[in-house]
Amino acid sequence: MTGLESLIPLSVLGGFLALDFRGSLRLMLYQPICSGLLAGYILGEPAKGVLAGTLLQIIFLGNIYLRGERDIDMPAAGVVSAAVFILVDFRMAGDMSVSGMVMAGSLLIGLLAGLLGYYLYRILRSNLSSPVERVMNRCREGHYRGASLLHLSMAGVHFLAGFLICLILIPAGYAITMKAVSSSVGFDGSVDILYIFIPFIGIGSLLRIVLFQHQAFWFLSGLIITGAVLAFI
């Protein structure tokens, strides 16, 4: 199913992963490295899905979310970037000379999807306080049904948000990336070039955690031992 006919399954996947992400199921299927794999399975290209997912994952490797807060919408970002990459790559018949550009475009669209999801969530969250207050008052009178309904219906809202973001941004991202690749604006080279550069961004954010925890000794140990092993091999 390497075509836009897979849009609905991909959007359903985006919806389910949004539940994992926002509803605190926290099975971690929403992490881009997993969502990329799942999107890849739907499109029949799991390896390429993992490739896109891993790059997105590396960008956010050292980002930590405290107090259950989430900033960027990871499931939408993962599914959209993996799907756009696979679809455009398929259309370009796996042309290695543009795969780096296809990947860069897919990741940018994925990040856009993630930010869109985040802002939608912010709006939803700030507007939810008054309905919750209303059901709280009802509960204090002994009526719990409204509370259950509101809470469970929010699962549907999260699903719908994830579903719609994927439904809209996968075809849009596909069209934009195809146009960019066709007009040959951007860098040449295979996807390797991104695999070389992007990890440095991840390292920057990982280092923050390591140094904050005063774990420089273990960091340097890992760095030196691995460096020695790689040089020896």
Binding site: F60, N63, C139, F187, G189, F200, T226, L230
Partner: protein, 242 residues
């Protein structure tokens, strides 16, 4: 495991569904305990209202460990003499604050970066079981803490935190070192591959990227720092190839 336990446990998996600015996960926590309140109050509306007044309020805790608060709350609500003293809300607020701090440190700061870095190292080398390894590794601890936390709270009540936080801190201490070591491994691999790909210029570019993330972080949020840098990387690579 009784039906009531199961009913509470599955609801705890949805605790953040209705997160909002004013009560955070207050509704989610109350929703998880509705089966308990129904069984305690029967059809008595005034009793139900009383239970809601005590337990439906602001609630914010690490979602994985919030089961312990639910267990403690259940234990206290089922104990005679605890209900009207205001102790339940005091214990809930204190415990949830400590669990937030400890749980976030363990899961978000230490464990998740460790598991994800390992998975990424696997996939960088084309070993596509990386995501599977990550899911198994993470969810083993995730489910263990979710379920054990609830039963610990139910069994020990207000004493549930005693010993637990110390154990969690010990495990965190060990894993902190492991996370740092794995970050070192990842860094070494990145620089080695960079050097093989383009020699010293790539290594210098890598160092600049790392420094840029660190500097951007002083002004922007971590997410925006890496997004800005990623966009700049793509623009730079495009300009270099034109």
């Amino acid at each position: 495991m009784t039906m009531l336990d199961l009913n509470i446990l599955w609801r705890l998996f949805l605790i953040q569904n209705s997160r909002n600015d004013k009560f955070h996960d207050g509704l989610g926590f109350f929703f998880a305990l509705i089966p308990l309140f129904r069984s305690l109050s029967g059809k008595d509306l005034s009793r139900r209202g009383e239970l809601a007044r005590r337990n439906f309020d602001y609630f914010n805790s690490n979602p994985v460990l919030s089961g312990m608060v639910a267990g403690v709350t259940r234990k206290m609500e089922e104990s005679e003499g605890m209900a009207d003293t205001g102790q339940i809300s005091r214990v809930r607020n204190t415990l949830s604050s400590v669990l937030t701090a400890k749980g976030d440190e363990f899961f978000e700061v230490v464990f998740l970066p460790l598991a994800l870095t390992i998975a990424c190292i696997f996939t960088i080398y084309g070993v596509y079981i990386g995501p599977l390894v990550f899911l198994l590794f993470y969810n083993y601890f995730h489910f263990k803490f979710r379920i054990i936390g609830y039963y610990r709270g139910l069994k020990l009540g207000q004493e549930a935190g005693t010993g637990f936080f110390e154990d969690l801190s010990k495990i965190s201490g060990v894993l902190r070192g492991a996370t740092a070591f794995t970050a070192g491994v990842f860094t070494s691999i990145a620089f080695f591959r960079g050097y093989q790909f383009g020699g010293t210029p790539v290594v210098i570019a890598g160092l600049v990227a790392i420094a840029a993330v660190t500097l951007l972080r002083r002004k922007y949020s971590p997410v925006f720092s890496v997004i800005i840098l990623f966009v700049l990387t793509v623009v730079l690579l495009s300009l270099l190839s034109i």
